[in-house]
Symmetry: C2
Subunit: 207 residues, 2 copies
């Protein structure tokens, strides 16, 4: 089990790395979209694939062993950059940029394109679940125990807004409520019980 990793680097170094990796990941996001939507001929697909494999070989020349993990600086700045909801190094993530609104409330605005489509023109329900699970977990600073989602209506692809707030605490358990909305109002509501890990060094200590 890979643990949380502490790195003794400055805020400037964190910013430098973010500036290095963000454009790379954004390029991969564009490629993911283009791969879904392309209608070019087989030869052109072959040529694109060759370029992609060359890029992968360049990047793999030196890489971490196993997954990215969650890294923290000595001052506690988190770098969850491999995360599939918010990771600036993970092209699966839109990425959702979560803003703090006090200790127990979080908000985010995300634009969801072709890569997040379930039914035609609509966001996949499981993508709504992924983003809601994540933002509720951030509001709680805890891991998911239970999560109940209610899909009020379909969510069209495009800009969506997410909110989450802690509504109760009982020992290591927090109750969190949240929602996902489009311009016309709430499309999905969420409620969950989140469990605080016993310590950072023992992520398996939480259910």
């Amino acid at each position: 089990m890979r643990q949380f990793v502490f790195e003794d680097i400055t805020a400037d170094e964190v910013a430098r790395r973010a500036e290095l990796y963000t454009p790379l990941t954004n390029s991969v996001r564009e490629l993911v979209d283009a791969t879904i939507r392309t209608e070019v001929d087989p030869d052109t697909i072959g040529a694109a694939r060759e370029l992609i494999d060359r890029a992968t070989a360049l990047l793999r020349a030196q890489q971490c062993d196993g997954p990215h993990g969650v890294r923290y600086t000595a001052d506690g700045t988190g770098m969850p950059w491999g995360n599939p909801a918010i990771g600036i190094r993970n092209a699966i993530a839109p990425p959702m940029v979560v803003t703090r609104d006090g200790d127990h409330r979080r908000v985010a605005d995300v634009v969801l394109g072709a890569a997040y489509e379930g039914p035609p023109g609509l966001v996949h329900g499981g993508i709504c679940a992924l983003l809601l699970d994540h933002i509720l977990g951030e509001a709680a600073s805890a891991m998911t125990g239970t999560l109940t989602l209610r899909f009020e209506r379909a969510t069209p692809l495009g800009p969506v807004h997410l909110e989450a707030a802690v509504t109760g605490t009982d020992g290591r358990k927090k109750t969190v409520r949240g929602s996902l909305s489009d311009a016309d109002g709430i499309t999905v509501t969420a409620e969950g019980i989140f469990i605080m890990p016993r310590t950072f060094d023992d992520p398996e200590g939480s259910p």
Copy 2:
């Protein structure tokens, strides 16, 4: 709103397209992983990015307008290839390959790597939610109304097994139960109410 699209193509043509797009998307999946894990120097990252942008430009020379949609052949074969859980053209999808086990039960085995990591070494809870939402929806052949997930314990990255089965039907509503497991047993259980769309041409007719 893009509708479900019917294409009058043969099974051979579907197979030809699957063989064309699968290796391309697999190359993009490798690139997503390499982008998360790379530790190469900034110049090499720049060189990789240039190759990626060239590949994207090749693919975008001819592309569909908007998202992929869900396409069906005249005989009803579905091509949900842009789907973020199962799409063979969507690098976000592992992809999960869902197997029918009778009309109302579905199973899948998936290997989840670095791109699906939440806490260090563990599958992001929201990714468990995405895959469970999808497989429960397939078992029901319906859209999610409500979904309740219970995280019994953390799910390590690596091979996971999913199951879903319809346990009850009431008009257009189906109750579906499922689970996600690792080699040691169930890590997440799911129960949902899924709603059958009124017609294929009216996906907004369902909640």
